[in-house]
C-alpha cells in the first residue's frame, strides 16, 4: 500500500470518529428539557391540537394550561420564541412550575420554537445548557439553543426571505425565525406553520392578552422595553406605570407598522388578542461580548460591556454586576403580572395569577429556588 493511501485511511478513520462523537452530541440536543409542571397546571396540550400537520414534527410543542376555578379571561405567555434568549424561556418554565390561577386561564408555551432548541448557532460559541440547583438540591438543566429553527427541519434557506402576507424582504435565514413569520401559513414552511398554529390557537381559544418574552443584546436600542401594538397601548401604558412605581425602568415602544412578521404587529392585526413583547438585556447574545459561556448567559458579567457602557454605546445601564438571570426573569415575571392586572382593570376579563415570585423576590433569590 502506498504511503498516501495509508495517510488517507488514517484521516478517514479520524474523521469518522469525530463525526460519531459530535453526531452523538448534536443528536442529544433533540431530547426535550424536563419541565415539571406545578399543581397549578390543569391540562397539557400540544400545539398540533390546533394545527394537525405539526403532529410528529419538531415544530410541535407542549402547551400548558392553568385554569382557575372562577371564570375569567385568557392570557397566553410565549417563551422560547428565540431559544438563545434564556430569560424568556425560563420565565415560562417558572410560570408552569409555580403559578396558580384562581380566576380565568393562563396558557404557557415555554418552547414556542421547539425546533430552535435542538441546535446551536454556528460560530456563536454558545453553551449547550444552563444549569440550576433547585430547593431540593437537585440539578436542573435547560437548553441554550438557537435564534432560528433547525436547518435539519427546514432547509435550504432561500436567498431572500419574503414575508408571505406583506411581501417584506429579509435575509434568507430569517425564514427560520419564528418572530418574522406571523401570522403564518398553513401551507408554508415549518416555521410559518408554527406561527400559523399559534395564531389559530389564539383565535380558537379567544385569548385576550398575549405576551412574547425575549432578550436582546445590550447595544440594541429596544431593550428593557415593552413593544406594544397600537390596540395594546392602553394596557402597556397602565402596566408600565405600575412597573415604574416599583422602580423597574421599562420603556414603551410602539410596534412599527412597516416591520412585519412579528408577534406585536401581526397578532394585533390578524387576531383579537392584545399582543405585548418584552425584552431584557442578555450579554451572551451581543456582538460586543467577551468569552462566551454558561456563566455569561446566567450572570451577564462582561468586561467589554462595561467598557462599552463607558463609551455610551449601550441602551441599558451596565456595570461589573452585569444583568443576572434572576433580574431578567424577575423583570419578565413582574411584567406579566403588572400588564395582566392592567388588562383585568381595563377590560374586566379577569385573570388572577398567584404564587409567582415578583421582581424584588427574584432579585433576592436564586432562580433554582423556583424550579421543582
Amino acid at each position: 500500500m502506498k504511503r498516501h493511501h495509508i495517510t488517507a485511511i488514517v484521516l478517514l478513520v479520524v474523521v469518522a470518529a469525530i463525526s460519531v462523537y459530535t453526531g452523538g452530541i448534536f443528536l442529544s440536543l433533540r431530547e426535550p428539557d424536563v419541565i415539571k409542571p406545578g399543581e397549578g397546571v390543569t391540562e397539557v396540550r400540544k400545539l398540533s391540537d390546533y394545527f394537525a400537520p405539526l403532529k410528529g414534527t419538531r415544530g410541535d410543542t407542549d402547551v400548558y394550561v392553568l385554569k382557575g376555578e372562577q371564570e375569567g379571561g385568557k392570557v397566553l405567555v410565549l417563551g422560547g420564541t428565540h431559544a438563545n434568549e434564556p430569560s424568556g424561556y425560563l420565565t415560562a418554565v417558572v410560570l408552569v412550575e409555580q403559578a396558580k390561577v384562581t380566576a380565568g386561564e393562563l396558557i404557557v408555551i415555554p418552547r414556542a420554537n421547539n425546533s430552535a432548541f435542538t441546535h446551536n448557532d454556528s460560530q456563536e460559541g454558545a453553551p449547550l445548557y444552563v444549569h440550576f440547583t433547585n430547593a431540593a438540591g437537585e440539578e436542573r438543566q435547560f437548553r441554550y439553543g438557537s435564534r432560528a429553527s433547525n436547518v435539519i427541519d427546514q432547509w435550504p434557506d432561500p436567498d431572500v426571505y419574503e414575508h408571505a402576507s406583506s411581501g417584506q424582504q429579509l435575509s434568507g435565514s430569517e425564514t427560520r425565525n419564528l418572530n418574522r413569520g406571523y401570522p403564518g401559513r398553513a401551507d408554508g414552511n415549518l416555521t410559518e406553520q408554527m406561527c400559523y398554529a399559534i395564531t389559530e390557537m389564539i383565535k380558537k381559544e379567544d385569548i385576550g392578552l398575549t405576551f412574547d418574552l425575549h432578550e436582546a443584546s445590550p447595544e440594541y436600542p429596544v431593550i428593557n422595553a415593552t413593544v406594544a401594538h397600537e390596540r395594546s397601548m392602553d394596557i402597556a401604558a397602565m402596566g408600565s406605570f405600575d412597573l415604574d412605581m416599583m422602580g423597574i425602568a421599562m420603556s414603551l415602544e410602539p410596534s412599527p407598522v412597516n416591520l412585519r412578521g412579528l408577534t406585536h404587529r401581526e397578532l394585533g392585526d390578524f387576531t383579537d388578542t392584545y399582543p405585548l413583547l418584552m425584552e431584557t438585556a442578555n450579554a451572551s447574545q451581543g456582538r460586543l461580548r467577551g468569552a462566551t459561556n454558561e456563566k455569561l448567559a446566567l450572570d451577564g458579567k462582561d468586561k467589554y460591556y462595561v467598557s462599552a457602557e463607558a463609551l455610551g454605546m449601550l441602551y441599558v445601564p451596565y456595570d461589573e454586576n452585569g444583568h443576572s438571570i434572576e433580574e431578567r426573569v424577575g423583570r419578565h415575571l413582574q411584567g406579566v403580572l403588572s400588564y395582566t392586572t392592567a388588562y383585568n382593570d381595563l377590560y374586566g376579563e379577569v385573570v388572577t395569577i398567584e404564587n409567582v415570585p415578583t421582581y424584588d423576590v427574584m432579585l433576592a433569590a436564586k432562580l433554582g429556588d423556583y424550579l421543582n
Partner: protein
C-alpha cells in the same frame, strides 16, 4: 496584556508559522490555530465547537462545488466558445459598450442571488474567454470579473450583507434600490473601463476572427446555449416568482449542468465532475478552517476584543476603523463581517441616514471577498481566467478596492445629505 490579546496573537502566530514556515495548507493552518487558541483560552480541544463552526459554510460549499461543475460543463460542451464568438462578432465595433455589457452580465447572477461566488463562477466564467480574446491580459480580466462579482452581490435587488445588518437592527429591506444602484453601477462602469479599455480601444477584429470558433454555432445552433439559458431562467424565476419552489442555488447549477450533457460536444461527466471538485477542494477546506477559527474567536472572547477595539476609537478614527476592520474581518467572511461589525457600526452611526449607512457598509463588507485567506472572488476569478496565482488578481484590484472603500466612506460620512438628496 489581556488574555484575549494573548490568544489572538497566538492564533495569528500559529497560522503564520504553519502556512509560511511549515508550508501547510491554509485550511490545516486554521485548524491548528483554532486548537491553539482554544487551548490557551482554557477550553481544551473543543471538538464540538470546531465542528459546529464549520456548519456556517455548508451552503456556500455546496454552491461552490456545483458552480464549478456547471463551469466545467459549459466549457467542455463548447457553450463558452460559441457564446464568446457570438458576442465578439456582434459587438466588436463598440468595445467600450461591449466592456460595459460584459460587466453587467458578470454582475447579474450576484444581483439575483446575492453571492459574488455565483457571479464569478457562472457569468464570470462565461465572460472570461471573451475578455481574453479581446486582448485583455489574464490578470486584468480576472480583476474585472472579481470586481464585477463584488459589485454584483451588492447591487439591487438582492443584497444579503444589507439584509443581515438590517436584520440586526430590525430594519426592513425597503428603500435600498436607489442608494445601492448609485453605489454600485457607477463603480462597475468605472472599473471595467479602467482595467480593460486600454487593451480594447483599437480592437483588430480581422486578427481576432480566426480565433473565434464559429463552427460550434453552426453545428449545434441555439441549443448549445441551453445550460446558460436554463441557469439564468432558474435564477430569475426563483427571485421573481414566489410560488416557485425554493430549490436552492446548488440545485440550479446542477440542473443547468445536467442540461449541458445533451446540448453540445460530448464529454465524460464523471471525470469532469471529479476535476471540478478537485479544483475547489482547497477553497472548501479553507472555509471549514475559517468556520472553526471564528467559533474559537467567539468562544474565547477574541471576537469581542476585535469588535470593541474597532468601535471604541474616537472621532475620525472610528471611520478609519470602519474602513479597515470590515474588509479585514471579511477575510474570514463578508457575511460574518456584516453581522459582527456591520450591526454595531450602524448603531454607532445611528444619527445618520440608516438606509445610506447600511447600503454603504454592505459595499464595504463586499471587499472581504477579496481579502485572503478566503478571498473567494479573487481565487475563483483567477481560476476562471486560468491564472495560477490569485495574488496577482488581488494586486491588480488594489486601486479599484481603494476607490470602492473611499466611495463607501463618503456615503457613510455624508449619509444625511445623500439621503436627503435621494429622498430616502
Amino acid at each position: 496584556m489581556s488574555i484575549e490579546v494573548i490568544i489572538f496573537i497566538a492564533m495569528v502566530g500559529t497560522f503564520m508559522v504553519s502556512t509560511f514556515g511549515f508550508k501547510l495548507p491554509v485550511s490545516v493552518a486554521m485548524l491548528l490555530s483554532s486548537v491553539i487558541g482554544a487551548l490557551i483560552g482554557g477550553q481544551g480541544i473543543p471538538v464540538r465547537h470546531l465542528v459546529e463552526g464549520t456548519f456556517s459554510y455548508v451552503d456556500t460549499i455546496l454552491t461552490i462545488a456545483t458552480a464549478m461543475v456547471f463551469m466545467k460543463v459549459v466549457e467542455k460542451s463548447g457553450a463558452l466558445d460559441a457564446l464568446s464568438s457570438l458576442i465578439i462578432e456582434k459587438f466588436h465595433k463598440v468595445p467600450a459598450l461591449l466592456l460595459i455589457l460584459i460587466m453587467l452580465v458578470i454582475m447579474f447572477p450576484g444581483m439575483i442571488t446575492g453571492s459574488s461566488t455565483a457571479s464569478v463562477l457562472s457569468a464570470g466564467s462565461i465572460m472570461a474567454p471573451i475578455l481574453l480574446l479581446m486582448g485583455i491580459p489574464k490578470v486584468s480580466a480576472g480583476a474585472i470579473i472579481a470586481m464585477g462579482g463584488l459589485l454584483g452581490m451588492i447591487a439591487p435587488p438582492t443584497n444579503i450583507p444589507a439584509m443581515i445588518i438590517g436584520g440586526g437592527i430590525d430594519m426592513p429591506y425597503v428603500g435600498f434600490t436607489l442608494p445601492l444602484t448609485i453605489l454600485t453601477f457607477p463603480l462597475a462602469f468605472l472599473f471595467v473601463l479602467m482595467l480593460g479599455y486600454k487593451y480594447v480601444r483599437k480592437l483588430d477584429y480581422a486578427k481576432l476572427e480566426p480565433q473565434l470558433d464559429k463552427e460550434l454555432r453552426k453545428t449545434y445552433g441555439v441549443r448549445i446555449y441551453l445550460p446558460i439559458i436554463v441557469l439564468l431562467a432558474l435564477m430569475v424565476i426563483d427571485s421573481l416568482v414566489p410560488a416557485f419552489p425554493n430549490i436552492g442555488t446548488p440545485v440550479m447549477f446542477l440542473i443547468a449542468a445536467f442540461v449541458g450533457l445533451f446540448t453540445g460536444k460530448k464529454f465524460n461527466l464523471f471525470t469532469t465532475s471529479k476535476e471540478a471538485v478537485k479544483d475547489v477542494l482547497p477553497v472548501m477546506g479553507i472555509l471549514m478552517g475559517v468556520g472553526m477559527f471564528i467559533q474559537i474567536m467567539t468562544l474565547t472572547g477574541v471576537r469581542g476584543l476585535i469588535v470593541n477595539t474597532s468601535l471604541s476609537l474616537p472621532g475620525v478614527w472610528l471611520y478609519v476603523a470602519m474602513a479597515l476592520s470590515i474588509p479585514a474581518f471579511g477575510a474570514i467572511s463578508s457575511f460574518g463581517a456584516s453581522s459582527v461589525l456591520g450591526v454595531p457600526f450602524t448603531l454607532a452611526l445611528i444619527s445618520g441616514n440608516q438606509i445610506i449607512v447600511v447600503a454603504a457598509l454592505s459595499l464595504l463588507a463586499s471587499v472581504g471577498d477579496m481579502v485572503p485567506p478566503t478571498a473567494l472572488a479573487g481565487i475563483f476569478a483567477a481560476q476562471v481566467v486560468d491564472e495560477p496565482k490569485y495574488a496577482s488578481i488581488l494586486k491588480k484590484s488594489f486601486v479599484p478596492i481603494v476607490i470602492l472603500i473611499v466611495y463607501s466612506m463618503a456615503f457613510i460620512i455624508f449619509s444625511k445629505e445623500i439621503g436627503a438628496f435621494l429622498g430616502v
